[in-house]
Symmetry: D2
Subunit: 306 residues, 4 copies
């Protein structure tokens, strides 16, 4: 395997910080692999545990299947030894997810991040989700990480489904993007015998998530302030809570700006300010308005980042 | 054109009832074109205005693009002269929607039904949606019908976007599946100079929608009780409100059962009871439990349909 | 009894239009009984079925119990023979509701409108609500009308509770303010053997509610455009659906402005424009901003009312 | 003043744990002052910072104003020197809140906890809430603590209103019961120059709240497991994070059971098991069903508390 030692029974150790990398496009909205690689070279110098490719911030719903796989292949070529490549392979149907998971593995993924299917949200109860993720995990050549992101899917993975799925030998953990810290604490509590690994899905509650037992974070903001998020991780891991709190507080507003408030277009704009290639999104995502750009800048500058 | 006369400026007249047809699968979850055609032969005898292919009840998010197009092609071959084939061609990205719209037209669609993109719901404001639907309508060889279905997408098309898009010469109408009757009345009111055609997206509020100015309905329940829904249409159109009310009331619970409460698996189960091929859904949609099947039966039988 | 004949078993006939009257205040925020009476004299000339006193638009949560009763007493003195006085008597606890119901009856109410308790909304399931309304109806000297207004309470009365409570001999009907027309149709359907009377709680869906079987409406907008709402009722009752539709459509935006969008302060501002005493609300309700006032005016003027 | 030294400018120091005490009733639903005092004697032996009287768990919406004041008076008589008595004085109208605040002060409150008015939730924007709380704080003889509890009110105090109100010299802090830890961290960050004191409104996220800068908690569960919550506080304050995490995790399910899942009736049932007087709630709150009681017991026993 390409990635490092794991804590128990040869399991992949997920602990650490991951940027869910953005996908740069050319002015014609084609994937810009050249700029992607330039970003990757910069990320290679940061103490990330790995990269998430095709998370929500990668605009994966706007990519064709071929593009999704090709982006993963590109990242694999560039990624230094020992870094984890976690690839999003979730689709609406179980069969499509199984197939894409295989392709992602062939393209070099160390693990797959599988979002909850969500179109028929009224029917995506624990029974359906347990069935779906079990089928996917049964057939996946690499470990599976569950992905619950209600802001996009309108659906939260039920606690009992998480607990049951945590017992599957090929399901390693959960990326939780809502940030209900009570729920995160309870998931850690109820899965502790499985050594289930919870990743905070946003930088806004990263410190609190560490506090209640998470092992890392997949944070959009790591595309922009990667070094700082790794420093926050180090402080949390080493008990530097006072210093961590001050750093965490300065990250909340910039994080909200590039996620909940202004979304991927803001993330990509901020990347430009911090020396990365961001650029435009695929349509229908629109560029920021002038007022939004100013608000974004303010959310960084009032916290001392610009 | 394959379809009939239109009320103004050569516009396609959408008025009438459409079943959003279900997609039968084999036991191995392959599309069962044979059974699909058998259903189509039965629907051909009913006074539908046309068929919607790849609406939410067609499990389109679980079909590959090739399957989506092939199902439309199959329906085109079978559909009698003069019936409208409305094909779902909505995707998350504008570019994919434009491309699929062309393929659907080539496969024989008379109009396309384009659902709101929804993954980045926080960013799908009027600006983004107007941009998206304008691009799609600009390039589409056939007329476009907007499709707002918040129960699945978590997103309602804003009123101001509907009003602005109603002025596009290639956007004919809206399928509204939430059923906020105040909003439907207001949409009819504010688009009346465009002769914009509103279709009720569910049988539960069909009569009320006619009452406030809708011209028809795309109703899951028409897969099961098609004749009855066409009769309800006739009563509403001819002023038989008392009789209509009694019929409408008997349809609410069966309709809720096959949509909001128990979803596509229930629709397909009920189709079996009424002589159509329903069968299983693609995973992760699960078969009904025994208790759910009984509840479904009760919702039909207590209203005198079984 | 002060009110008129009823359709079955001596039951009070609720059919018709009711303004849920606003409460005028002096500049010191005291109840202005003088101005209240002047409004009542104007309403007396309109073909209302009666008045609702202490509905949400009466700012009842801001009145003391003594004020609530005194306002009802004032209305009773002024109300012409044959008009129905429906008084809001809902409180959070069952015991307080029972007591206030008695006081409202003593003050002259013909019926009481009892809102769902809502503070402990997570516990206000059918069991609790059936218990509450049964106790209140058991002890009330006058008939009880259920009141479901989720925009204020965050709670919708469950359908099964409505159906069960409809069998209570002292529970006559329901004021439904959300306007889910499918639900309203179903309530009418499932309570028809009880001759249960459903009142639309807003002018936005009044015509559609008549269409599916409601018998009248309690409409904030009737404080402003009372004559027009009574005309809409007449058209719906006499089968003038085409004319009704045109009138209904012109009322949706003014109605939304004085309810959902801008609330009681807008209702009171519009009352001033149409010759009634509106005035300021009690704090914390704030006066409209200049921009809001303009928006309000536009919602009336673009529909031809100003 | 009855309470202890404060950190800055003579401000009352709120830091610590408070049970929001339950109100025992007799079998006839009268307030049982005798049993209340017996509970108070037990609480007196615990290292609480003080008591909250008439929080949501005190069933204050079901008490008359006289009862609300009398309960505070009773607590004052019993409360040991140096403990803080925080009394709920929030009403829907500003004028009623001002008056009740004065009565609560006269009855012995050291501070008042003022919930957001919520009936006209669509109009309770920052402008209205800032106006309301400023008026109340201007006139209040004792310091004011803001209280945001969306599970009951359906309304969250907007961040910008909190930040502006934090500058009022008589507004000391906020009880936040939703537990969005990102928001709590941001409130601490943006009010730090005011030394604004944030209290966690539930035991489920108490440790995480301390982690991001809260100074204490008002926790329903402290009525049952008061000693344990004070121990959790001590561990958080002294940097015993590992031990704290284990204790916190064991408290999440019991806490959820007595709050979100089963509410005040469950809190009172659990109090009985742990040696306090709980008893029945006022109607319409219903006793637990047998199944609910078993679920409650399980939530305590599987975490080692029973």
């Amino acid at each position: 395997s390409r990635s490092q030692s794991s804590p128990a029974a040869g399991r992949l150790d997920l602990s650490g910080i991951y940027p869910p990398i953005a996908t740069p496009f050319t002015t014609k909205e084609a994937v810009d692999y050249q700029r992607l690689e330039e970003n990757l070279q910069k990320y290679a110098k940061m103490p990330f545990k790995g990269l998430v490719v095709q998370g929500s911030n990668g605009e994966y719903p706007y990519l064709t299947e071929d593009e999704r796989v090709e982006v993963v292949r590109t990242v694999r070529r560039t990624l230094p030894e020992g870094k984890v490549l976690m690839a999003g392979s979730g689709c609406e149907s179980t069969r499509a997810t199984v197939e894409l998971t295989e392709k992602m593995t062939a393209a070099g993924a160390d693990a797959v991040l599988v979002v909850t299917p969500c179109f028929y949200k009224g029917k995506m109860d624990s029974r359906a989700l347990i069935h779906h993720f079990t089928k996917v995990a049964d057939s996946s050549p690499v470990p599976v990480v569950l992905y619950s992101v209600p802001a996009n899917t309108g659906l939260e993975m039920p606690l009992d489904a998480v607990v049951e799925l945590s017992q599957h030998p090929n399901i390693l953990g959960l990326k939780d993007s809502r940030g209900d810290i009570t729920r995160i604490g309870l998931i850690v509590h109820k899965t502790k015998t499985q050594n289930f690994q919870v990743l905070a899905g946003s930088a806004g509650f990263l410190m609190a998530a560490y506090c209640v037992g998470a092992v890392g974070g997949v944070c959009a903001l790591a595309n922009v302030l990667g070094q700082e998020l790794c420093e926050l991780e180090r402080l949390c891991q080493s008990g530097g809570w006072e210093e961590a709190r001050i750093l965490q507080q300065r990250l909340i507003e910039p994080n909200a700006a590039v996620t909940r408030k202004l979304g991927v277009p803001a993330l990509k704009q901020a990347m430009e300010w911090f020396g990365f290639h961001g650029g435009a999104c695929r349509s229908p995502l629109q560029p920021l308005t002038e007022a939004e750009t100013q608000q974004l800048r303010r959310d960084f500058s009032t916290n001392g980042w610009l």
